[in-house]
């Protein structure tokens, strides 16, 4: 028997290291025909902002080599709607439900975090300070150490459960940003959010996305994500949650070897809606094959 439990700290204990990434798994409900959510460590719901947002105009996605761009732009009905309407529907899922909290102003983040602090069945928020798809998507906070310190420490003051901070890869020095988040009180960091990219229709001489640029995700970003997870895991003491292009159990193991304590699956859910549960099984199989008693032994086990 392999022990698959991962304790990310401050009450966030995962049944196994596999979570689903925000914006790619809806509210979990969309996937229950394919995945028994009890087989997952957690699900992270769609990016939610204090106030409702209509998101960007269509078209919002473009396929790219081994990946895709999106510019959804944080379409959501706001934190209050989440609390009133969505939370009651999903709170009894037999897995950890995390809210991905996005924002544009410091006040929005703080207000939002405060509002969900008391939700009994919501053990953590993933603070999204890295959305590249809206002008005020928080990426301004996510790309400087001062920005991230500020938003994390303010949210920390009002939010008393597990505070995971999601980092942007669109930076010169990701370790520095992660250290700032840690110093400001983050319980864990998750990375990467999408890389900012662009696609052009040469025939029409127009951008393929309504707002010109978007976030790149999928298998193509894996090498960059893995490098950043490795850099951050070496730098910080808090747990690191790795994501970016994970498509199968081998990919997931690679992220854990690089130093991730848990992982998230994003775009791959679109290609195989049952992939998340398969990855969880596959990690256990890997441990069995190599004689690891606990998935914890994989964390940072890369021999350099």
């Amino acid at each position: 028997m392999v022990n698959t439990t991962i304790d990310l700290g401050r009450g966030l204990v995962l049944r196994n290291p596999v979570m689903t990434a925000s914006g790619t798994f809806g509210y979990g409900e969309e996937y229950t025909d394919f995945v028994d959510l009890a087989q997952l460590g957690g699900i992270i719901v769609k990016g939610t902002t204090l106030h409702p947002r209509e998101g960007n105009p269509y078209p919002r996605m473009a396929e790219t080599p081994s990946g895709m761009l999106n510019c959804v732009g944080l379409q959501n009905k706001g934190v209050q709607y989440f609390i009133d309407t969505i939370y009651p529907r999903i709170k009894d899922f037999d897995t950890n439900v995390l809210l991905n909290l996005s924002g544009s102003t410091l006040e929005d983040y703080v207000k939002g975090a405060e509002m969900v602090n008391e939700l009994e069945k919501l053990p953590a928020i993933e603070l999204n300070v890295s959305c590249p798809n809206v002008k005020q998507g928080g990426m301004a906070f996510g790309v400087t150490t001062t920005g991230i310190s500020q938003v994390v420490s303010e949210v920390r003051k009002v939010y008393h459960k597990h505070l995971m901070v999601k980092l942007s890869p669109n930076v010169t020095n990701i370790a520095e940003i992660a250290l700032a988040a840690e110093a400001a009180g983050a319980d864990s960091v998750s990375l990467i959010n999408t890389l900012m990219g662009m696609a052009i229709d040469a025939e029409k001489r127009k951008p393929k996305l309504s707002v010109i640029t978007g976030g790149l995700s999928g298998a193509c970003v894996k090498p960059v994500a893995l490098r950043m997870v490795w850099q951050v895991a070496k730098a910080v003491k808090i747990p690191v949650v790795g994501l970016g292009g994970i498509s199968n159990a081998t990919d997931a193991v690679e992220f854990m070897l690089a130093g991730a304590s848990a992982i998230e699956i994003g775009t791959a859910n679109f290609i195989d809606p049952a992939v998340s549960a398969k990855v969880a099984v596959g990690i256990t199989d890997y441990c069995k094959r190599f004689g690891f008693q606990s998935v914890i032994e994989l964390i940072g086990a890369l021999e350099c």
């Binding site: 914006g23 790619t24 798994f25 809806g26 969309e30 996937y31 025909d33 394919f34 769609k46 209509e54 998101g55 105009p57 269509y58 078209p59 919002r60 996605m61 473009a62 396929e63 790219t64 080599p65 081994s66 990946g67 895709m68 999106n70 959804v72 379409q75 999928g218 298998a219 775009t267 859910n269 679109f270 290609i271 195989d272 809606p273 049952a274």
Partner: protein, 253 residues
């Protein structure tokens, strides 16, 4: 209930730019209603990362078979069209909502343009079974675009337009004489957006109720990613989940 299923390609028919793919599952099919679609994984196509949404053209529940009509427009559909009988094709189904059924006695017109005729076949067939004989109006650029015309003609009165006049009346579907000669209560449309908009306008002018099937770019097909949105009176809604069929009154056209 939705499922991911490996189908076997049991029959492929070549219609030039389009192919018909008859797929058989080893397991029982889920419930499927006309207007729903599937997401097909395209194997062996290096530049096709995401699944491809394709309408359900026909269903044979007895044999656990679905049929797709695929037009080659890019690398993904080209690879699908190159599949060989016996190949495994991985499909997520059924997705989206179907057409709403008319009341008995309502006069229905089904308008299809180009590959947009695909979902209308299954719809017309089911309507027939329910005792409703629809009128079909099918348009194409040229004669060869009108795939399976003889089969469509089995399902109701079928009228045709081609832009080059090679078959049926010359021009667009909106220019066909059937519009002046007959009256319809419900109009169902699938085809290129400009065509659907034109038909929707005609429908509105004759006070007919009108449903269209949209083909927005999709990633998940499940209502999870919010990529496929259409602007409606209720804001941005997902075509894959709340559509692909919409009443035109809901759309901000």
């Amino acid at each position: 209930m939705k499922q991911v299923t490996d189908f076997i390609l049991v029959e492929k028919r070549d219609y030039g730019r389009s192919v018909l793919l008859r797929l058989r599952a080893e397991t029982t099919l889920p419930d499927i209603v006309p207007g729903q679609f599937v997401q097909v994984r395209v194997d062996g196509s290096p530049n096709t990362y995401l699944r491809r949404p394709i309408s359900i053209h026909d269903v044979d529940f007895g044999n656990n078979e679905i049929t797709l009509l695929v037009q080659q427009v890019g690398e993904g559909t080209r690879h699908l069209a190159a599949a060989k009988e016996g190949d495994i094709i991985n499909v997520v189904l059924p997705l989206g909502n179907g057409f709403s059924f008319p009341e008995k006695g309502e006069r229905c017109l089904l308008v299809g343009g180009g590959i947009g005729i695909a979902p209308l076949y299954f719809f017309a067939k089911v309507l027939g079974k329910k005792g409703i004989q629809p009128v079909l109006l099918l348009g194409g650029k040229t004669e060869t675009d009108l795939i399976r015309l003889a089969d469509y003609q089995q399902l109701g009165d079928a009228f045709v337009t081609t832009e080059d006049g090679s078959l049926g009346e010359k021009g667009f579907v909106t220019m066909h004489s059937v519009w002046t000669e007959r009256q319809f209560d419900k109009i169902y449309v699938c085809g290129p957006k400009p065509m659907m908009k034109a038909v929707a306008k005609l429908a509105a002018e004759t006070d007919a109720w009108c449903e269209v099937s949209l083909e927005n770019l999709m990633a998940c097909g499940l209502g999870a990613c919010l990529c496929c949105v259409e602007d409606t009176v209720d804001g941005h809604v997902c075509v894959c989940k709340e559509g692909p069929v919409f009443n035109t009154r809901r759309l901000k056209w």
